[in-house]
């Protein structure tokens, strides 16, 4: 277990995705231990969300009973890891296929590990925001406020997790292109990869200029000039584009999965159910919550 936590720590610190370790075109991660830690983090956040009805004083018109509130807490703790696992399963095939289509040499297992690592980042972020969620559960009895708070928390986590995924893919593509160019330069043996500077994950929302993360060594520059390598920029650009679109898909799927698996928080006005009727969708629900929040008297 401790080893698994160290693994998670290495992912967070970026040790697992340094250029030197990505050089082989794969990511070194023991999946089994990592998955256990991820489930644990998911359970923690699930407990934080689901305890809403346990912690805040119930209003008089609340339908939910104490037993229901306990059940909801338990159900959320079970469903939250499930949500991330299902999102992983649903988005993995498309990531792999697109990844292969744009010419990446990442193998199936490596793509899986990359996705798992990104989701581990998300889970670490949500779990770390758990104390704040619990605090607000204690203080507020407004259900729409909690909904929106949790949407924000998950949104922040998703953003950071996907930024991690994008950065790592970006690095992998760069390394591969470098290698290709090295081979193209033929006479020159594959140049050493760029020194493993402790590159932080680029700030979300800020797109660094092309290749800003990776300083090219001079002989790579040379290789670039020697062979007419239009393809380099071309594939690279395309790959970036495809992966960006895929992240949007990931976000949509994650959001909608959370809607399908609801309730996580549990409105005080309905008795406990494992799953609610299949109606409406995530985005309408967020709009409704916003409306409800701002129409209080």
């Amino acid at each position: 277990m401790r080893k698994a936590f160290r693994q998670l720590d290495e992912i967070l610190r970026g040790d697992a995705t340094q250029l030197s370790s990505l050089e082989q075109g794969q990511i070194e991660l023991p999946l089994k231990g990592l998955l256990m830690v991820m489930v644990l983090l998911g359970v923690i956040y699930g407990l934080c969300i689901g305890s809403f009805n346990l912690l805040h004083p119930l209003e008089e018109d609340a339908v939910i009973t104490t037993r229901d509130a306990w059940m909801q807490t338990f159900a959320s703790a079970v469903k939250l890891p499930l949500l991330f696992c299902l999102t992983l399963l649903i988005t993995f095939p498309s990531l792999y296929v697109f990844n292969a289509l744009v010419g990446s040499r990442l193998r199936l297992l490596s793509v899986l590990k990359l996705l798992v690592a990104s989701i581990a980042v998300m889970l670490a972020v949500v779990a770390s925001l758990g104390p704040i969620v619990v605090f607000f559960s204690l203080c507020t009895s407004s259900y729409p406020f909690m909904q929106l708070l949790n949407v924000t928390v998950s949104g922040v986590a998703g953003f950071l997790g996907l930024a991690f995924l994008l950065r790592t893919l970006h690095r992998l593509v760069l390394i591969q292109e470098n290698k290709l160019m090295g081979e193209a330069a033929a006479a020159v043996p594959p140049p050493p990869p760029a020194p493993p500077i402790p590159t932080p994950v680029a700030p979300p929302g800020v797109v660094p200029p092309e290749g800003a993360n990776v300083p090219f060594s001079p002989d790579i520059e040379q290789a670039k000039k020697l062979s007419a390598l239009d393809r380099y920029g071309y594939t690279h650009q395309k790959a970036k584009y495809v992966v960006r679109i895929w992240t949007i898909v990931f976000g949509l799927v994650g959001a909608q999965m959370s809607w399908v698996l609801r309730p996580f928080i549990g409105t005080p006005n309905l008795p406990f159910e494992w799953f609610r009727e299949r109606e409406s969708n995530f985005f309408l629900a967020v709009l409704n919550a916003l409306q409800a929040l701002f129409s209080i008297d």
């Binding site: 967070l12 610190r13 970026g14 980042v121 507020t140 406020f145 991690f164 932080p200 700030p203």
Partner: protein, 221 residues
Amino acid sequence: MLLTWADDILRAKMLVLDGGSTRQRLATLAAVLCVFGMTYGGVMGCYAGIFGGKLLQIVYSAVKVPMLLMITFGLSLPFFYVVNSLYGLRDDFGKVLRALLATQAGVTVILAALSPLTIVWYLSCENYRAAILFNALMFATASISAQLVLKRFYRPLIETNPMHLRLLRLWITIYGFVGIQMGWTLRPFIGSPNSPTQFFRDEAWGNAYLQLYRIITGLFG
């Protein structure tokens, strides 16, 4: 002794962060935080305390001010830790933590320095709402002034990596978001003369932001 420490914190002497053993430094900061925080808290609770004959309120308020700062700090920390790791700043986290803690202590020192003003206010104006507003103003002053302390402690960190500045802004946002709600939850700090002395108010469990929204829409609606 305590005053020297307080002075060191306000001037952001690196001694506060680097001198002595870790335990010593932490103990110093904790001592400053408790003593000065409790000073302001005690003064704050005077409103109904001495003049309304409720001495207990003074004790409660004195305990609550350090509590307010430390619990908010504790709740915001895990997320900040994870984000720092993600942006590759984990190796500096020890320094970051000390800078943040020192700033907390700085807030209490500033508050304590403002406490005579609060006393004068209490003596000159009996209105309870005005007392609340005045205290809110004092807290705001202290938090804003403490930014100076924070900037000073953070400067060497920002020089090594500009990302620290961004994350500092993130920290201030999160801390503010939690802190405002915490202040609301830990009421009463001042203690209305008309209600019984309590550690927590039964009806205090509300959402500060929704209350604020209600007050604003009430003003304009």
